[in-house]
């Protein structure tokens, strides 16, 4: 019997709506690795339920920007507000900063290399964070995990280890794992770039399902076809800065010649 408790927001239930107002607000974000300045003053606002797509050439800083949202990269300067709370240096001194651990309860991430835990089964990859971080009881964790796997079409593989699954299957488990933690925002860092072409479609299907549930998503991708279809806000980055961004229809209406050049080279 499908219990409401076990429905996974983002997969088979509506995604959480974190109220009105911006979910993520980045102002003046700068990031340097030693002498190398990778992000050179980025401003980006993400609204609830919005699907943001970030694209651009390699080295443009798009992954670094994405990883700043859950503080896997700590900005050298600038303000990062997630759900109203400041987590970076901020432009207002004296404002208390939230801790990364708290931020990551509300922000889920899917990686290019999947990063499933190889010593755990597909099911355990999902139950372990539920038990250890969300403090969910064992039996309920298993029910939720089984449900999540079913929603991505991989219930049959619950007892399998990552090594026994294809890349596309692993990535779908990774998406289920992130969604099971009930995030308000989902980050996708080039989720299909490491996949064989014939496996890309199954992952994009799941991502489409997540988008349809109303989840706030930020996706760094080279799949511009998907971006055009799903993106509410498309952002083109180059050399550590946002060159141009725009709402739906951006891909056909972009103004900046650099953007046009990149898109025409890819699409």
């Amino acid at each position: 019997m499908a219990d409401d408790l076990t429905r996974i927001p983002g997969l088979d239930a509506a995604a959480p709506q974190p109220g009105t107002g911006a979910v993520v607000e980045m102002r003046g974000i700068r990031k340097s690795f030693g002498q190398n300045e990778v992000l050179r003053g980025v401003d980006l606002t993400i609204e609830a339920g919005q699907h943001v797509v970030i694209f651009g050439p390699s080295g443009s800083g798009k992954s670094t920007l994405l990883r700043t949202i859950n503080l896997l990269e700590v900005p050298t300067a600038g303000s990062l507000k997630v759900l109203g709370r400041e987590y970076a240096h901020g432009n207002e001194p004296g404002v208390p900063r939230g801790k990364p651990v708290e931020l990551r309860r509300d922000v889920g991430m899917v990686f290019q290399q999947f990063n499933l835990f190889p010593h755990l089964t597909a099911l355990e990859n999902i139950t372990m964070p539920l038990k250890r971080v969300a403090k969910v009881k064992g039996s309920e964790a298993e029910e939720r995990a089984a449900h999540a796997l079913r929603s991505v079409g991989l219930l049959r593989h619950a007892a399998h280890y990552p090594r026994e699954m294809s890349g596309g299957q692993q990535q779908r488990v990774a998406i289920a794992r992130a969604l099971s933690m009930d995030p308000k925002v989902m980050l996708f860092d080039e989720p299909t770039s490491a996949l064989d072409p014939e496996l890309v479609g199954e992952v994009l299907s799941v991502m489409r399902k997540v988008a349809e549930s109303g989840m706030t998503m930020v996706v760094v991708t080279h799949e511009l076809g998907f971006a055009r279809e799903v993106g509410d806000l498309s952002v083109f980055m180059e050399d550590g800065q946002i060159v141009e961004s725009g709402p739906r229809g951006f891909f056909d209406n972009c103004q900046n010649p650099r953007t046009q050049k990149f898109i025409s080279a890819v699409l």
Partner: protein, 251 residues
């Protein structure tokens, strides 16, 4: 003129219980030393990979103790360190401490290599899921590092058992001491030391067998019939869970 002394192989059977007792002492010392060495070694590896003064202290310890022979170590602990600290160690304790000082250094290097072999993304995935760094270490990093380290730790264990042979010099009643005692009465070195060697070889073989078994259980998925029998219950539980969910109608 006798060309060959008569070989008295019956001595081995007659003194089998003393020889096996000696072997058991050697194994006990080694097991305790192994557990301590893994704990200390892991700590040293973490220190080495950490921040400023700790990393040098750990590196210094490792470089020093990797070069000390077991014989020197045990004499130093039993006669020297005990005088320094004012505590009289028993021969058993001195043996354990001597082995731990040496082998924690080796195991520190083994764990350091294992920990650096784990891809950065594993830790990032743990953090992204909201785990704090300690939880990431315990649930993500350490299990994977231990799996990589286990074969080498097994070799270290065999080395420990062999090194206990030098503890005869402080009077620990392990294999070599027992053999020396019997030999001083009967003077049959060939027979007796062949027996001693055989005991060590058998133990080495058994340890190797045991650690291979552990490696197989730790594989994902577990390999081999024994390993699968041990982990079978978990698998069956998950399969039952799958069945239940497949049976219920989709939401």
């Amino acid at each position: 003129m006798k060309i060959f002394a008569a070989y008295d192989w019956s001595l081995i059977w007659d003194y089998r219980s003393q020889l096996l007792d000696g072997l058991w002492v050697a194994i006990k010392v080694s097991i305790v030393a192994l557990v301590l060495s893994v704990v200390v070694g892991l700590l040293l590896a973490l220190m080495r990979m950490g921040k400023a003064p700790l990393t040098w202290i750990a590196a210094g310890y490792v470089n020093i103790f990797r070069g000390v022979p077991a014989l020197v170590s045990v004499i130093w602990v039993y006669f020297g360190l005990s005088m320094l600290l004012g505590i009289q160690f028993s021969t058993f304790q001195a043996g354990v401490i001597a082995l731990t000082l040496l082998y924690s250094a080796f195991i520190a290097e083994i764990y350091r290599a294992a920990l650096t072999a784990i891809p950065k993304g594993q830790r990032e995935a743990g953090l992204a899921l909201g785990m704090n760094p300690v939880r990431v270490f315990l649930s993500v990093t350490l299990p994977q590092a231990t799996k990589i380290a286990i074969p080498n730790i097994g070799s270290m264990f065999i080395g420990m058992v062999k090194d206990t042979s030098t503890f005869t010099v402080i009077g620990l009643t392990e294999v070599v001491r027992v053999t020396q005692n019997i030999n001083s009465t009967y003077f049959q070195p060939f027979v007796l030391y062949t027996a001693a060697a055989a005991l060590y070889v058998i133990v080495a073989f058994l340890i190797d067998f045991l650690f291979r078994g552990v490696e197989k259980v730790m594989e994902s998925p577990p390999r081999g019939r024994i390993a699968q029998a041990i982990t079978g219950r978990k698998r069956r539980r998950i399969l039952a869970l799958i069945e239940r969910h497949q049976a219920s109608p989709s939401a």
